[in-house]
């Protein structure tokens, strides 16, 4: 019995790490597509300046946090609590509680997977983000219209990153992609360097 319990915990820990890693990868893809893909550009241009996007598993202290600016999309390397403190609706002491819904939804969109397994299903390409929503895998905090914009961007990035057959099965390849897939993949390598510059750099959030 002990073995079974340990195996479950090990699997979950593994899945958690994979989910976090792939979400980082997805975030990098979003930043690249923000520059290169016309659809993603239009969607992010329609969002307010300094709009914050959060994506992660429920309860995770370090979800992926992105900030939209006219100059691009930036990865914020701070804890969620710190970000909440900067855009609070309630006093900072209250906003410190993770996912407590105390931040201003007009300045922030938060999408959380209800469980690690829910995140695993999506990031491994078993289901699309629309199907994840249909399965009640997602919690959304913020304006639904913004969530729809963000979802379209994620779907476009997935269309680039996932193998063609998988993307077709998830109905992500409805139209011809404006960029060759290899170009996005190559750019992913450079994006990492930019991230470090940002982390060291002057302006994060």
């Amino acid at each position: 019995m002990q073995e079974i319990r340990e195996k479950i915990l090990q699997t979950r820990a593994f899945q958690k790490k994979v989910v976090q890693t792939v979400l980082s990868f997805l975030a990098r893809g979003l930043r690249i597509c923000r520059r290169l893909d016309p659809l993603v550009q239009v969607e992010f241009d329609a969002m307010p300046e300094d709009f914050v996007l959060v994506m992660g598993v429920l309860g995770a202290r370090h979800p992926i946090i992105l900030q939209n600016r006219s100059t691009g999309l930036y990865r914020v390397r701070e804890s969620f609590a710190a970000v909440c403190n900067r855009i609070p609706l309630a006093p900072p002491s209250v906003a410190r509680h993770f996912s407590a819904g105390t931040t201003d939804p007009s300045r922030m969109l938060e999408i959380r997977f209800k469980s690690v397994e829910a995140g695993w299903r999506m990031i491994t390409g078993q289901i699309s983000i629309a199907q994840a929503y249909a399965r009640h895998d997602l919690m959304i905090h913020g304006e639904i219209a913004r969530a729809m914009q963000f979802v379209r961007c994620i779907e476009r990035v997935e269309a680039y990153l996932l193998p063609k057959r998988m993307a077709r099965r998830l109905r992500l390849l409805q139209e011809q992609l404006p960029n060759p897939r290899w170009r996005i993949w190559l750019q992913l390598l450079y994006a990492k360097k930019e991230e470090y510059t940002l982390q060291d750099g002057k302006e994060v959030l």
Partner: protein, 389 residues
């Protein structure tokens, strides 16, 4: 086919039929309410609904709810209700009254001081236990009494925000035929088409499941049998009761299985062209159905049996059943158009070609698009709208 995973939630006690209104004092007492806040439309007050309810409880009554609920209105009512010390809510009216009451109830029950904190879908804000909440719908279309969705206008942006939460569901819903007795035929017709759209979209949505299917197909059957009759004979209590029941069942179905493209476009038509929601969905339904026949045609075929009856269904070859359902719905819409002048196309509803681009953009940002069985892009939505013009 059983989905890999599904959720179904509906904790609402439903009181349906003759003199159901008179049971409200008992239900309030059962739920531990001592001083309810009553949000009621003026028409219902004039029809003597408060007198029908009776009871000895003290209550705070408010009748002036505008056509579109708003954040400011919800804040104002919440403050007033807190000051008066009310411990429960009774909402009697149409969509706006019920949506306002849902938002007020959540504000009173939780610790949140701003409705904006509730924006989103299935977001959980820790709060104390919900206060007792009773709803009495006065139209047979929205199904709002059994849905966890509220639409409230943001005063800052003038955009109607959709909030999805289980906490919007009331403890009790009352369906009394006297509440729909004075409903104009045009409203009966358009709200009936709204209920039909809820049921059809719930039956084909991405979140569909055997439980929602059962409610949706029963609702389609009842609407198929009673919608035209309810418009033709507004005094007939049986037809009105069946439509009220069908609307509630469709509400239960779509609250769990979600609506789709037809609603996304109708919400956009409401925002961009001020088209009443019930009329917009009625116009769009056959066009959206025809567009996605290749994906859900088989499901439509099954609904033909419910909408037109088993005799007709048996005469139609399997491959033609989906198309025949669409034709039957179009015939119903045209019949209702001739009978009470509900618009049968967008042009009649005052929508012009130059409005379409704005409608497409608004539709693309609607959450209902996410649960549509066939993914739709801007070009698809524009194509459907042009067909409906």
């Amino acid at each position: 086919m059983l989905p890999e995973y599904f959720e179904f939630y509906n904790p609402v006690k439903i009181l349906c039929g003759h003199h159901a209104l008179e049971n409200i004092p008992y239900e309030l007492m059962r739920l531990g309410a001592t001083k309810p806040f009553v949000l009621i439309s003026r028409t219902m007050v004039e029809q003597g609904v408060l007198e029908m309810i009776g009871g000895r409880l003290k209550a705070l009554v408010r009748t002036d709810v505008p056509k579109d609920s708003s954040f400011a209105l919800v804040d104002e009512i919440t403050t007033r209700v807190r000051q008066e010390g009310c411990d429960s809510i009774l909402a009697i009216g149409g969509g706006s009254v019920l949506d306002t009451a849902k938002a007020v109830r959540v504000m009173l029950s939780g610790e949140n001081k701003n409705l904006r904190q509730m924006l989103g879908s299935e977001w959980v804000i820790p709060g104390r236990k919900e206060i007792p909440f009773i709803m009495v719908p006065t139209t047979s279309g929205t199904g709002s009494e059994c849905t966890g969705v509220a639409v409230v206008q943001d005063d800052r942006t003038k955009i109607k925000q959709e909030i999805v939460s289980d906490r919007f569901l009331p403890d009790v819903a009352i369906l009394d035929p006297r509440c729909t007795e004075k409903l104009p035929p045009r409203l009966t017709a358009s709200s009936g088409m709204d209920a039909l759209t809820h049921a059809v979209e719930a039956y084909t949505g991405l979140q569909k499941n055997p439980l929602s299917d059962a409610y949706a197909s029963s609702a389609v059957r009842m609407i198929g049998q009673h919608l035209i009759a309810a418009v033709r004979e507004p005094k007939n209590e049986e037809h009105r009761m069946m439509m009220a029941c069908a609307s509630t069942m469709a509400g239960m179905a779509f609250s769990n299985s979600m609506v789709g493209l037809c609603h996304a476009i109708a919400h956009a038509l409401g925002a961009a062209c001020q088209l009443p929601h019930a009329e917009a969905v009625g116009i769009m339904l056959p066009h959206v159905m025809r567009w996605q026949m290749d994906v859900v045609g088989h499901d439509y075929g099954r609904l033909l049996c419910d909408f037109c009856g088993p005799e007709y269904y048996a005469q139609i070859p399997d491959r033609q059943r989906g198309e025949k359902l669409i034709e039957a719905i179009e015939d119903t819409l045209i019949h209702l158009h001739q009978k009470c002048e509900i618009p049968s196309n967008l042009r009649e509803a005052g929508v012009t070609r130059k409005d379409l681009r704005a409608v497409v953009q608004a539709a693309m940002d609607d959450g209902a698009l996410l649960t549509n069985p066939k993914p739709a892009g801007k070009e698809d939505v524009l194509y459907i709208l042009e067909r409906a013009l």
